[in-house]
């Protein structure tokens, strides 16, 4: 899967590129709208990620130009404003989805994948760590063959951890993933959920899969 990223800020651009490459995307990064148009015309991409605020030719102009030239693949737009009317405008101009800055990479990734309709066959719905199994499609969880009942939030948190098994996931990122944005619980709600998960998953077993990393977050590893 190939993605064209048109982003003038080098930090953000590098961040996106590296993140997507880790997810096995082919990434072409350009910092300029005109160049982006040319590249889009000459190479085949599955998705384009386009920053709205570009120097020179504006993101909106680039978008309209791409569409009028017959580019039909999905375009994900990065906007700094949250104004609804500019969202409506970009969507009407031909964008398929948008992500507002600042964004968590997870969100960007999820939307890009959704837009590209990455075939699920490539990613198995089953996630496994040790004897813990999670089926993303059926939402069933089993440890050592035994079914585990989880609430929606518990499932979300566990899924997130298993998907990044072995990596310490920051509490902030877990919260954002499971509760979305615009939510400041004020307390560490994730800790409570992890507590519940531990009771349901680790309590009866000697091998504890969920590990706390103090001050940072949690990790699931065999």
């Amino acid at each position: 899967m190939k993605v064209l990223v048109i982003e003038d800020d080098p930090t953000v651009g590098a961040f996106i590129k590296r993140g997507l490459e880790e997810q096995r995307w082919g990434v072409h990064l350009v910092a300029d709208g005109e160049e982006g148009e040319q590249v889009a015309a000459s190479e085949k991409f599955d998705v384009i990620i386009l920053d709205m605020r570009l120097p020179g030719k504006s993101g909106l102009d680039v978008l309209q130009s791409l569409r009028s030239r017959g580019f039909e693949k999905p375009v994900l737009v990065l906007t700094a404003q949250d104004a609804v009317d500019s969202k409506v405008r970009t969507l009407r101009a031909g964008a398929d989805d948008y992500v507002t800055k600042p964004f968590a990479f997870e969100e960007l990734l999820a939307r890009v994948e959704a837009l590209a309709r990455r075939p699920r066959a490539m990613q198995s719905p089953m996630l496994r760590v040790g004897d813990l199994e999670l089926n993303r499609d059926t939402r069933e969880v089993h440890r050592a063959g035994e079914a585990v009942e989880l609430t929606p939030k518990e499932f979300a948190v566990l899924e997130y951890l298993i998907r990044h098994a072995g990596r310490v996931m920051s509490r902030t990122l877990i919260t954002e993933y499971a509760w979305g944005y615009h939510f400041d619980p004020g307390t560490n709600i994730v800790d409570v959920v992890i507590n519940h998960l531990r009771k349901k998953i680790d309590l009866k077993h000697d091998k504890k899969l969920i590990t706390t990393v103090r001050g940072v977050g949690y990790v699931v590893k065999a």
Partner: protein, 512 residues
């Protein structure tokens, strides 16, 4: 200001002029009619006197008419004529049979005199013509006839006697008005002299009075300019207790200045608050990053520092988003993207979070009533709204308390309520809770327990309104609060059609 003064004065003077003119005109007309009437009366008296003389002499038997010669025609007896000469004014005795004038008084003879000079002669002739016309007129009509002559108007009347013995005689008697009573002209004359003087005085006086009235407006304008120069909004206009329009004007202006001061003050405070709120996370981030960069810091410590920094960026992003939302609300923009939102799953999701939070805080969280409803709106924003109310309830309720959520259908409205047994809100504070940066504890603590920017309710209020609904609150200090979100329910028939129209944006959303 001078133009308003001038306009007022001119209008006032014009009015004065009109009134004076009307008055003078009325007096003149009345006087004229009166004089005319009196003169006619006098003429009638003269006429009747002549008739009486003729009748008396007739009865006495003396021959009235003496025919002298065919040239002169019949004339009246000298004796009779001499008697008639006593009657002043214009007197003519006509013989009806012949139409001849048997007697004409001195005044009539003088009238018929033609002076030598040509110019005078023309004027005199005109007089004669008019007089003759008038004689014809008075014969036909019963009323007095007014004849304009160059030495004054005449009033002529005709008198007859019904006595058969009197025979066919008729008498014309006339009185000159100018000799009689000149008062109408005097009235006019005096008016012409006096009125200009009066007008000038009135206009002058009016100008002064207008100036006096208008000067306070000038003063107020200058004062308001001074007050609104940007630094002096604390000042107010001096209010005079005259109780008139000026008082009302100054009072109203003062109220307006007061409101300006409040909102400017609020704006300044808001900016200061927002800057302050942003500075704190920035400071933390800075500290964390610096720490992480130090050589002696271990990897795990670095991760800790970075996680804390990440948390702060989330807080800041949240604050910025809130400020942006409120700025939009200020502009009166209530735009949201709309989709069909089934409320039951949303409330269940919120309930789960509420339960988790409640558990942590030692609270009993329940959801007794959850009815199936559908609302047209922005799912993310609604969730934000509900979660905000829930976190507030939990935050401000001490351990052992209760929080109750409900979703009930009332007619065509959905009522989502969050009821707690917490610290409550004082009645005096209730009107202000939806304002920015308002907080129940009013102390900006930095503890994790009570962190929050104080924008939550302001935004929640906006979200409710943007959905065509409202956010209401009932509260008693130390007893608890109930916040209710009222939203219009989306009709089920349209739901089927719109379900397909939910846009891609919502489908691609991460997290629940």
């Amino acid at each position: 200001m001078s133009s308003m003064r001038a306009r007022l004065t001119i209008r006032y003077a014009a009015l004065m002029l009109t009134l004076m003119g009307a008055y003078a005109g009325a007096v003149y007309a009345a006087r004229r009619a009166g004089v005319q009437r009196e003169a006619a009366q006098l003429a009638v008296t003269h006429g009747d006197l002549a008739v009486a003389v003729l009748r008396a002499t007739q009865r006495a038997g003396s021959a009235q008419i003496i025919v002298s010669d065919s040239l002169v025609g019949s004339v009246l007896n000298q004796e009779v004529a001499r008697l008639l000469m006593e009657i002043p004014g214009y007197v003519i005795v006509f013989d009806d049979e012949t139409g001849r004038r048997l007697y004409t008084s001195r005044a009539v003879i003088d009238l018929n005199f033609l002076p030598p000079s040509l110019a005078q002669r023309e004027l005199a002739q005109r007089d004669i013509d008019r007089f003759e016309n008038a004689l014809t007129q008075v014969e036909r009509s019963r009323n007095a006839v007014r004849v304009p002559l160059r030495n004054g108007d005449l009033i002529l009347v005709e008198r007859r006697s019904s006595d058969p013995i009197f025979g066919r005689r008729r008498v014309i008697a006339g009185v000159n008005l100018r000799d009689f009573d000149n008062s109408p002209r005097e009235v006019l004359g005096s008016a012409l002299i006096v009125f200009p003087f009066v007008l000038v005085v009135a206009a002058g006086g009016g100008f002064l009075i207008a100036g006096r009235a208008v000067r306070p407006i000038d003063r107020i304008t200058s004062e308001v300019e001074a007050i609104t120069d940007g630094r002096s909004l604390h000042r107010r206009l001096a209010v005079e207790s005259t109780g008139d329009e000026m008082t009302r004007l100054t009072t109203t202006l003062n109220a307006m200045i007061g409101r300006l001061e409040t909102s400017f003050g609020a704006l300044r405070r808001f900016t200061a608050d927002a800057s302050h709120e942003l500075k704190t996370p920035l400071a933390v981030i800075r500290a964390d990053v610096e720490r992480a960069m130090q050589a002696q810091t271990q990897t795990t410590e670095q991760l800790v520092a970075l996680e804390e920094a990440l948390q702060q960026t989330t807080r800041m992003a949240d604050l910025v988003d809130s400020l942006l939302t409120l700025a939009r609300a200020d502009e009166g923009r209530f735009d949201l993207h709309r989709e069909v939102v089934p409320m039951e799953p949303l409330v269940r999701e919120v309930m789960e979070t509420a339960t988790i939070l409640g558990e942590e805080s030692g609270l009993d969280v329940s959801l007794p009533v959850l009815e199936e409803l559908v609302v047209l709106g922005d799912r993310t924003r609604l969730r934000q709204l509900f979660l905000n109310l829930v976190t507030n309830a939990i935050k401000y309720t001490p351990r052992g308390g209760k929080v109750e959520l409900n979703l009930v259908l009332h007619g065509a409205q959905a009522h989502f309520s969050v009821k707690d047994t917490g610290i409550g809100i004082a009645a005096a504070d209730l009107p202000y809770i939806f304002e920015r940066f308002w907080r129940a504890d009013r102390v900006r603590t930095r503890s994790a327990e009570r962190s929050g920017f104080g924008l939550g309710l302001a935004i929640s209020h906006w979200i409710a309104q943007a959905h065509g609904g409202q956010l209401t609150v009932q509260s008693r200090l130390n007893r608890g609060s109930t916040f209710t979100v009222i939203l219009p329910v989306h009709s089920a028939d349209a739901a089927g059609a719109d379900g397909a129209g939910a846009d891609d944006t919502s489908a691609a959303r991460v997290g629940s």
